[in-house]
Each structure stands twice: as C-alpha cells, then as structure tokens.
C-alpha cells in the first residue's frame, strides 16, 4: 500500500486536493467541510514529506502521465529544486487550514463557507500542480487554476469591506494578461523546437543560436511570470488583493502564491534557457538586478507610509520578493541557494506576521490599522510575543530565520558583485525596522482605548501561531535543513556549466 502511494505520489499530491475540492462543494455542513479540508491538507503534507525522503535518495522522480514516454507525453518531475516550494505550499496550506477554523466564520457569510473551502483546496491543488509539472503548457493550466481560485477567494472578503471586489477584479485582469503573455512565449518556443517538455526544450534550445523568435519567446515568458510573481513594476495587484482578502486567505496567499511563480522564474532562467548564456546574463544584469533593487526600496518606503496594517505587510512582501529576485539575478551558485533559503524563510515569516495580525483583528472585529492596535500588546501577550519574534525575523536580527537568509544573501553578493550591493541590502533591512517599530510601539507603548474587551485567547488559533514562531526560531538556530536543500537545488539548477 505504501509502495503504491510512493510510486504514484507525484500525481496523488495534485489529485487529492483537486478531488476533495469537488466533494467539499457538495457538503452543506460548515464543520464537516473544514474537517475534510484539514484531513486533505494533512495528507498532502505527509505525501510531500515522503517525496522529500525519496528525492534525497533518488534525486529525480519522473512520472509519465498515461504511460506516454516523456518527450511525447506530459511528465511530472520532482527534483531537488521543486521539492522546496512543494513543502512550503503543503505545509503552509495545512497550518493555514488549522488557523482558519475560528477565523473563517467571522468574516464570511455562513452559507458560503463550504464553497470557500472548496476554492481553498482548488487553489492549493493548482499551486502544487504548478511546482510539480514538467510540461510548459500544463504549467499554464495550473497557473490559471490557482490564479482564478485565488481571485475568487480574495473576492470573498466583500462582506467585510466592499473594496475587496475591486481588488479581486484588478488581480483578475492583470493576472490574466500575465498568463496570456506566458502562453505567447510558450507558443513561440514550440514553433522553434516542436516540443513542450521542459527537459526536452533545454536540449533542443542548445542547438539554436541567434534566433529572434527565441529572444521574443524568452521575453514574453519572463514578463508573464514577472506579473504573476509581483516583481517591481508589475506588482500593482498585490497590496490591495492581500489587504482586502479574508484574513485566512491572506495567510495562505501571502506565504505561497508568489513563491510558486518565483520557482517558475528560476526554472525558466536557469534550467530551460541555460545554454543561451549571454541572453540570460544580459537579462539578469540589466533588467532583473536594477528592478530588484528598486523593489527592495520601493516596497519598504511604501510600507513606512501605510496606515492599514495588512496593506503594510503586503508592501513589505513586495520588498522581500525583491530580495529573492536579487539573489537570483546575481547568478552564482551561492546566490541562487540564498534565494531559495529566503523563499522558505519568508513563507514562515510572512505567515507568522499575518497570523499574529489576524488573531489581533479577530478580537477587534474591525479593520486593523495602526490606531486600532493601540495597547493590544498588554492584553494579548502571547500574540504580541509571536508578533515581535516574526518582526525581528523580517528585519534579519540574529537567532531568527530571517538572519540566516540575509547572511547567505550578503555573503553571496560580497563575493561576486562587491560591497555596494551588500550595503544596499543592509540599508533596506534597516529601513524595514522603521515600520516594524511603528507597529510594535503602537502595540506596547500606546495607551489602550479598548479596555472593555475581555480577551480569552483560544488554543486553536494559538497552535498554528506558536508553531510558526517556533519554526522561525528553530531555523534561526539550526538552519542546516533549509541550507542543504537550497544548495542541492542550486547545484541542480546550474549543473556543471558553472
């Protein structure tokens, strides 16, 4: 029985949430639909742990759908690179589902809760399929599945604040344009090489040099994925979508959705187009590197001036995505590894911050801004402790997970580009302390005007929150798991040629 599960696990990990989402939509009972979602995400997480062990032994698992051998058929590939976002997505999906038990009914209409859980499972299935597939067009299909499910999830927040509808609409239009640009790129590549399989594309593209369709296809694919990954000028949809979504949905999306698209960007840049070395070099140095630096500063500065807490955290997400793309654009083995390390750590940090803010907002029952946070630190000490630990992790202080990722990033940038890049990274981290201090000051030092609230901190909410905070501290003290996986990933991506 276990052998069947292991040998079919690349497809089971996608089909299990997909089928369960179809079953959950038929169940009218809210508690039962939450329970089925919880069990499904737990099983998905277990399968992803099994796959991690398998990848450590075999280093590439390839599963051909329908018994059609790879260049002709669709294959699902799990190797060292794709196992990192896979574990992030399934783990955060499980933790967010545990957290959503109390939070969902307070923000969403009672009759729509099972439909929301069905969309939740569909979004998780889409994201997992995105990182598992090895076929370029299948990737577009899963990209659109996860994107449309996320749009519908964001629009569910309309009961609390009607701006969620406009935010969801913007996300839909901009996301659809991005995915269509990606499809144009795939079409151009298919016209040159005649194949859609990613490994086969790498081989056939090695023989083609100086082809204008190759450059055009590359450009379209990269710009399309930049829209989905919220890289600087094309990130407009992100702040409002994450701010007005229901809180449980913000936790899920902020920690997972952009990470999957950043993984695809790494695949396109380093795996598929690896032979076209000067094209990649040009793009990385002149386009992605400056945009990442601007993203780091623009995200941080926009966050300093924001009063709405969730929008503030969303802007700081843009800055952190800037760090990850900066790591990719430096282009050496160490820097790509540090990009993956930051991908994993940022999921933990942002998940923790959004969870802490959500549990504070749950007791406040209205829109969370800097003013409404006054004095909550004294009435909710456990949440405040978790919030402080996650904020210190975001700023990159030692003993936390954020420090490890900043350390590797700065080491990689000093060894290849020079001190000026490291200085910019440190400066923007210091700037991020400004908005973190604003929030901590409002929580602890301001007088509380919510004296009448008797807060009974519920254990269901605190399980996920304390677990994520513990993981933040644990990966700050013993980061060998994440660091080794990321080095394996970057070795595989860059292969022998670097």
């Amino acid at each position: 029985m276990i052998d069947i599960i292991i040998s079919h696990s690349p497809i089971l990990i996608v089909i299990c949430p997909l089928m369960m989402s179809l079953i959950v939509v038929l169940i009218p009972n809210n508690y039962l639909s939450w329970l089925i979602t919880l069990v499904t995400t737990f099983i998905t997480f277990l399968i992803s742990i099994l796959l991690y062990q398998e990848v450590q032994n075999h280093s590439l698992i390839s599963y051909a759908l329908g018994n059609w051998a790879p260049p002709l058929g669709i294959e699902y590939v799990i190797d060292h690179v794709s196992i990192i976002p896979l574990i992030i997505i399934s783990g955060i999906g499980f933790l967010a589902t545990v957290f959503a038990y109390k939070i969902m009914p307070s923000e969403i209409d009672k009759n729509s809760i099972s439909k929301t859980y069905s969309l939740w499972l569909l979004a998780i299935a889409g994201l997992i399929g995105l990182v598992t597939t090895g076929d370029a067009f299948n990737l577009f299909v899963f990209l659109e599945i996860s994107s449309l499910a996320s749009v519908a999830l964001v629009a569910m927040g309309a009961k609390k604040d009607r701006q969620a509808l406009v935010a969801a609409y913007n996300y839909l239009i901009i996301g659809a344009v991005g995915a269509t640009l990606y499809v144009i790129g795939v079409g151009l590549l298919y016209a040159i090489t005649g194949t859609l399989n990613m490994a086969d594309l790498t081989e056939r593209l090695a023989d083609i040099k100086n082809n204008r369709a190759l450059t055009a296809g590359f450009g379209f694919m990269v710009v399309g994925i930049m829209v989905k990954a919220a890289i600087f000028p094309l990130h407009i949809w992100l702040p409002r979508a994450y701010a007005y979504a229901p809180s449980a949905v913000s936790i899920l999306l902020a920690a997972t959705a952009t990470k999957a698209s950043l993984y695809i960007l790494a695949r396109i840049l380093f795996s598929i187009f690896l032979p076209s070395y000067d094209l990649i070099n040009y793009t990385l140095t002149y386009i992605i590197l400056p945009l990442s630096i601007v993203a780091m500063f623009a995200g941080t500065i926009m966050a300093i001036y924001e009063k709405d807490i969730k929008r503030l955290l969303a802007h700081s997400s843009v800055a952190q995505i800037g760090y990850i793309t900066l790591a990719f654009s430096i282009g050496t083995k160490a820097s790509i590894a540090s990009g993956f390390i930051h991908m994993a750590n940022h999921a933990l940090i942002k998940g923790g911050l959004f969870m802490a803010i959500t549990s504070m907002g749950y007791y406040l029952q209205k829109r969370i801004t800097i003013h409404s946070l006054s004095g909550l630190g004294k009435t909710m000490p456990i949440t405040f402790f978790c919030f402080v630990v996650c904020s210190l992790s975001l700023a990159g202080l030692p003993l936390t997970a954020g420090f490890i990722s900043k350390l590797y990033l700065i080491k990689a940038s000093i060894s290849s580009e020079g001190l000026w890049l490291a200085f910019l990274i440190l400066f923007s981290s210091a700037l991020s302390l400004i908005y973190l201090w604003k929030m901590i000051e409002a929580l602890w030092l301001n007088p509380s005007h919510n004296q009448a609230i008797k807060v009974k901190e519920s254990p269901v909410i605190y399980t996920s929150l304390l677990l994520i905070t513990f993981l933040n501290i644990y990966f700050g003290l013993d980061a060998s798991l994440i660091v080794n996986s990321s080095y394996n990933a970057s070795n595989l991506l860059l292969g022998i040629s670097k």
């Binding site: 067009f137 577009f140 299909v141 659109e144 449309l148 749009v151 519908a152 629009a155 309309a158 009607r162 701006q163 509808l165 406009v166 969801a168 609409y169 839909l172 239009i173 659809a176 344009v177 269509t180 499809v183 144009i184 079409g187 298919y190 016209a191 009063k307 829109r367 801004t369 003013h371 006054s374 007088p447 005007h449």
Partner: protein
C-alpha cells in the same frame, strides 16, 4: 535600387499576413485593457487579447498543403499538426472561465457601488478613506486630551 528592396519587403511582409493580424489584434486587446476605464470594456479587451493568442497557435499548426488531421485511409496525405488545436481547446476553456469570473465580479461591483466606471469607484473609495481618517483623528484627539 530602393524600389526593388521595397518590393521585397512588401512581399515578405505579405507572406506572413496572418502573423500581422495576430499582432494587430493583440495590441488592440492590450490597449483596451489598459486604456479604457469601464470595467466591462476591460473584460472585452482581455477576450480580444486571448483570441489573438489562439490565432497565433493555430497559425503555427498549419502546414502548407496539409489537410485536417483526421485519418482518412489514403496513405500519402500531409496532415496539419493537431497538437496546437488541443492546446487551444484548453486555452479557450481557461478564457471562458476568466471571462465568467470577471463578469460575475462586475455584476457584484455594480450592485455594491452603483456604477462600473473606474473613476466613480475610485472617487467613492477615496471618500471612504477620508471618512475613516477623520474618525481616527477624532479618536486620537480624544485620547491625547
């Protein structure tokens, strides 16, 4: 010899006339998405943009002298490539889902805001934002007294 080169350019441009149509449609669609402020028109522009991509794929699939890719028994026929057609079926359904979701959002926006023009909606949101700021100022001044 400028007119000879001009003739060559025109004939090679006319030889790829279907690609010209694809890109003109693509730019029209993209302009409508970016340049029009009515939410419904943006969805129409997105649909035109996606249709141009379908045309691009089907143009790639056609082989000169090829017939429809259905086995008829005669051995030496040249068939057009059937794979782009399959890809486009999938992409059409994705486009239908996107359009349906967009239209559902527009219906909800219309019933909550009362209009589907981007200017009206931004103005209403700005009024909400200022109202909220005023409430916060009042709370702050009450606390600091």
């Amino acid at each position: 010899m400028n007119w000879i080169k001009g003739n060559e350019m025109i004939s090679s441009a006319m030889g790829i006339w279907n690609y010209w149509i694809v890109f003109i449609l693509m730019m029209i669609g993209l302009f409508i998405v970016i340049g029009r402020k009515n939410f419904l028109k943006k969805i129409v522009g997105l649909a035109i943009f996606q249709t141009s991509v379908f045309l691009l794929y089907i143009t790639f699939g056609k082989i000169t002298g090829g017939t429809a890719p259905i086995l008829t028994g005669s051995a030496s026929s040249i068939y057009s490539n059937p794979l782009p057609h399959v890809l486009i079926l999938t992409a059409i359904v994705v486009g239908v889902a996107t359009t349906a979701l967009g239209l559902a959002l527009v219906v909800r926006i219309n019933s909550t805001y009362g209009s589907i023009e981007e200017d009206d909606i931004s103005a209403q949101d700005l009024v909400d934002y200022h109202d909220q700021n005023q409430i916060f100022e009042k709370i702050n001044t009450k606390l600091n007294k």
